[in-house]
């Protein structure tokens, strides 16, 4: 099936309702953008009274338009949208952009109105973006339907935003930073076409070399993941998520009606999808542009070139903290560099040329030597500027220079403006540039024109390169292969059905582990005893020392209630413990007995269902560290085995998985399989709302789930 964005982004004719001849009205601004920014298709204004709008014939009714427009744009009061949408449906138009706000984001009335336009769209097979959006930009055909003007040549960064501002208010900002869209899409309320459709479209779009996402909430997490997984191995995707806090979620809801989820779930989703997560729109643009323009990294060796120690040190420090190495240059490379810089200036990486009026040394000669050397995979460079600096000192020197214009002084610093910007592509080595001078400076402009990312602070320049490294790591991941889900085990279903019938909130521990065992999750061999003698017999069968637990589906938090006996080593202790547990439980309860699993490393694994997110699987430190450290990684269920493996080392305490204080390394395959199996269960058993295996003790190197809780979906818990 074709992605509906393909036709929406490439109309040959457009109708707009809401434009007039008043230049300060929104509708007019949208129309002017279409008219003035180079779109060579047709534009048909629709207006109840005007005959001519912006020099074009205007049509009183949709039916009067002399042909069927490919796309209709609405910039009219919300109440008027349904009627006109119906008119366009009848006319045969199948794509629309609804700029108008006042739908779901404003509450119940708006939600009804949104439902109404949805059903009209369905009736006529209309696909639309919005409502409550800013429209689209397609630089490939010079089409701009937003309110700001777009004067730049086509670019490479694809942008999808749940905020219209980021494709309108920010256009002048982007121009000054040399950043250019391929396509930009403001998705608004996503009543019909959404972020995921847009992502899929840009994933296939050959003009788009990297994709940036501004997200307040994703509606269909599994499909988002599926689409992103296909794109990220060959095209970088970078995302900002702002719905993870209470205030962010509330604000997003009133902005575009987006349903947010907790920050940690989105963090896991992005990691799983191979999407780089950043935390500001500035980085979304700047890192997105870097990913879109620079040759792919091949390793993590970084060269740092500078005209000043401070920025050089800061860039080296930031990049090393982000995973780069900054290797000292070889003696032979340094021998080539030394003649170009002052006698005592550092040549060993960073190279610091210090004060030097010959800018070609810094901008061209040294980077070329370093790129040719094969000793680095990337370069960050600070201090290539000319006009900006001369302008800054001009008030001081102009008298001495007989008031010569700045341009004459510049001619004393002849510079090559051809080579520096071409270096990254000539050598296939990415480069980012730092200086405190913006596009007023001629070097800055040169870098902009050559698509070499330029930042106004050394650390930003460095962090953009760190994003290149993070994407490099994404490309090194094993390809995703869809796991084959087992079919639901009839015995497992029977356990669940029985519990549901008995209106339980949760399975008892024994049933929970039985169910897990059916799916191959390692649990202890367990015995149930209903008398002291049975208990002793069971304990002897299990082998001392044993664990004894009061077993009842209503008993949670056994540890806190003293309903667990650990390390029980003799028949006599079994007998005493049996009595104690009965007494503490305050009722006759069966006793669960198993051979005690010993190991000092305790993890936890489980599944949750979160509103607005769907089933997720989690893994983290267990036992008392569960709440104490909250060191937990999340993923969307189900997982491939490799995804489960990646998740293991996502926790801060990943070193505990290795060889450790006389303990053997954890059997990573067994642990990954345990998590993968858990991740399958929510899909097979929708009647389960939550699984909590805690602790999963590492016995020797082997993980064993010694406690398990399975909460049922009809439960309030």
């Amino acid at each position: 099936m074709d992605n509906p964005f393909t036709s929406l982004m490439n109309p040959r004719s457009i109708a707009i309702v809401g434009a007039s001849n008043n230049p300060m009205k929104m509708g007019t601004m949208h129309a002017l953008s279409i008219l003035k920014d180079g779109f060579d298709g047709k534009l048909f204004p629709v207006h109840p009274t005007e005959k001519v709008i912006l020099g074009l014939p205007a049509y009183q009714k949709v039916e009067d338009i002399p042909e069927t427009p490919d796309l209709a744009i609405f910039v009219i009061p919300a109440a008027a949208v349904p009627g006109l949408l119906e008119d366009f449906g009848k006319k045969g138009t199948r794509r629309a952009i609804i700029i108008t706000a006042g739908f779901r984001e404003v509450g119940d009335d708006g939600r009804d109105l949104e439902d109404k336009i949805n059903s009209i769209a369905e009736k006529y097979q209309i696909r639309f973006i919005g409502p409550n959006c800013m429209g689209i930009i397609n630089t490939e055909i010079s089409l701009n339907t937003t309110v700001a003007s777009l004067t730049e040549k086509p670019g490479y960064l694809g942008f999808i935003s749940q905020s219209g501002t980021y494709v309108t208010q920010s256009l002048p900002y982007l121009r000054k930073h040399g950043i250019r869209f391929s396509k930009a899409i403001s998705v608004g309320n996503e009543a019909n076409m959404n972020t995921i459709d847009a992502l899929e479209y840009l994933g296939e779009d050959s003009q788009t070399r990297a994709i940036a996402l501004y997200i307040e909430g994703i509606r269909d997490i599994p499909r988002f993941l599926e689409v992103a997984r296909r794109i990220t191995p060959h095209k970088p995707v970078i995302a900002q998520y702002v719905g993870g806090s209470k205030a962010g979620a509330r604000s997003g809801l009133s902005h575009t009606g987006a349903m947010a989820g907790p920050a940690h779930l989105y963090e896991g989703l992005f990691r799983q999808a191979g999407i780089l997560q950043i935390h500001s729109v500035e980085d979304l643009y700047g890192h997105g542009w870097t990913l879109a323009t620079q040759p792919r990294l091949k390793g993590n060796r970084l060269g740092v070139l500078t005209n000043s120690g401070g920025p050089g040190t800061a860039m080296a420090n930031t990049c090393e903290m982000g995973g780069f190495e900054v290797p000292p240059f070889s003696a032979s490379l340094q021998e080539k560099i030394k003649p170009l810089i002052p006698p005592h200036a550092p040549s060993g990486n960073p190279v610091d040329i210090t004060f030097n009026l010959n800018l070609d040394v810094l901008a061209t000669e040294i980077p070329r030597l370093v790129m040719e050397s094969g000793e680095v995979d990337a370069i960050v460079l600070h201090g290539a500027f000319r006009y900006g600096f001369i302008e800054a000192i001009y008030p001081h020197i102009k008298e001495l220079a007989n008031n010569a214009p700045i341009e004459d002084i510049l001619s004393m610093m002849p510079s090559d403006f051809e080579s520096p910007g071409k270096l990254p592509h000539d050598y296939g080595i990415p480069m980012t540039i730092s200086s405190f001078f913006d596009s007023d400076d001629d070097f800055t402009r040169m870098y902009h024109e050559n698509d070499v990312p330029h930042f106004d602070a050394p650390e930003k320049t460095a962090r953009a390169m760190v994003s290149m490294l993070q994407y490099h790591q994404v490309t090194l991941r094993q390809p995703y292969t869809q796991p084959e889900l087992p079919t639901a085990d009839p015995e497992a279903s029977a356990i669940l059905q029985k519990a549901l019938k008995e209106k339980r909130n949760a399975l008892d521990e024994h049933d929970a582990k039985k169910l897990l065992k059916l799916y191959g999750i390692p649990v202890p061999d367990e015995y149930i005893a209903n008398s002291e003698d049975e208990a002793i017999h069971s304990a002897e069968g299990a082998g001392f020392p044993v664990v004894m637990k009061a077993l009842h589906h209503d008993i949670l938090h056994k540890t806190e209630k003293g309903l667990i006996g650990l390390n029980i080593s003799s028949a006599e202790e079994v007998r005493q413990t049996y009595r104690l547990l009965q007494e503490r439980a305050g009722m006759d309860v069966p006793i669960l007995i198993y051979h005690m699993v010993e190991g000092s490393r305790e993890f936890m694994a489980g599944t949750v269902r979160q509103q607005g997110f769907g089933p997720a699987v989690l893994f983290g430190l267990g036992g008392i560290f569960t709440e104490g450290l909250r060191d937990t990684a999340f993923r969307v269920a189900p997982l491939s085995l490799h995804e489960a493996e990646e998740m293991l080392t996502d926790i801060r305490g990943w070193r505990l998985l290795g060889e450790f204080r006389n303990m053997p390394p954890v059997d990573m395959d067994a642990l990954a399989r345990l998590i993968q199996q858990l991740s399958f269960i929510p899909a097979m058993h929708p009647e389960i709302s939550e699984i909590d295996c805690n602790p999963v003790i590492i016995e020797g190197s082997r993980p064993v789930a010694v406690d398990a809780l399975i909460v049922l979906a009809n439960s309030d818990r």
Copy 2:
């Protein structure tokens, strides 16, 4: 004693060596800055041949200068510095700025030269900054000795930098961002006057309202801490440290010869000192300017005002993640706001005015209502702009507007440029501003002129406000009181002397704990047994269960070598364990016996001496989590009790200190005292290089150091 910076920053007469009439020479640029930027004292150029320099009489020799200059500035080759410094010494000049590079930062030769100028300075009681620096800026007397021009009025941000670039190359950047220095000091190699002197000076300087530090390494950590502690309760200090990585440390060394220390030690130092740490020079400027200009925060309730949902959501999210609350506004406040904004626009915080040509609503009326309400302690605001946006749409609308100039169109949007910038000070409520429009925009310029910080991205605006909150938390700390160090205990000294005499690397565990006990650190009561029978007797004395350990000062890593027996419960077990330990030790060793301390929470505490840093104390998760989680906080020793308390909750696992799974809360006072006592030991016993108490087990609520290692300073370990 007067701070030498007071006179260095306020000379009435300056001599400069190295200026000529060539405007492209460094020395000339420095002189031009002094001449052209408004300094009204005298300037005496010294030059071997020229008679007139920059219109001033030049002197061939220092002795020819008609009076004694207060300050001498050197911009000449390194080799010429000592002779001329001596000349100025003879002339009576007592302050100097040595711009010249090529000293310690270039290696041994440079180090010799630096020693030479140091001894000349000492001989003549000259205090100087540099070498290898860019000089100073004192806007209070319009004195600028750097190479870039400074055209702005005096500001409030004090800046101290180990990179000259950050007070020269960046001046045009600062101008465009509306940021103004009070004083700026480039300290270079710090051969004589250093960052700490500068910090002390700016701490006392009434023009300076916040201080920003760019640091590659601090030479005297205890003095830095002492000075910062005095300043931060009443004046914000913010710092960037770039020496924490391998590459950062190497680069800093070749830049200014700075000796760096690990990032985590500096992080602890800054927290202890009440200094806010940031990670880019951009934040150093932007957050520094915010702290310097905005009224102090009084709480953490934030109002978010915007003309667009995306930036509003992003600001709310960033601020909440940083510790702010974004409380929904009261019904009565919302009733006042609603008439000002479109019917369905959000009024509940964030307030989103959406598209509106009346900018006074966003910039003045709503912030005033919100400030008057008493419902917030701070405001972040996105979207007050006019010229920038009109300029952006002008290419589209100019024809419709009959090609009227932009200014005519602006007159259709009359705006109050008086009130908005005054709001923070009128109401004593801090405010930061976001828009994508730079100083080309008239609103941006208005905010600049009124010292309201303006950022070109919503998240940056939000993060600057988070720095305000962090400083607010600094001001809430208990005042620092200097702890009284105990005198060295003679018995402790005797233990150490004996071990040193025996040329041991470390104390044995028993001696180590004996020493710690002498300083009030809780350790188990211990017994030493030299035979099986003694062992049984001791165990019975200690009370079962006991721990038995092979005791020898050369035995480290006892756990790994199986030289510890835990949970020994009977005389027979004591006997078996005794034999086993002897066998494993492979020699006759005494056995250490104590009653087993039980508890599931294990921490670690200790002291280290790190080159370039001095004695530090550490606290963190212990046991197997020491290396597995590396969750450790550091501080400079010795600590006040309150500093020790603050340190406890600095670790990620701080929740483990509270009431937890049926365990009582940890006795924080006892734990803080344990750490404080440890922090005293390095000062009393310089013969100790390292103390490692791991684990410190929490028994009930009480911490007990059950293992201890004390490494001696003469050891290679």
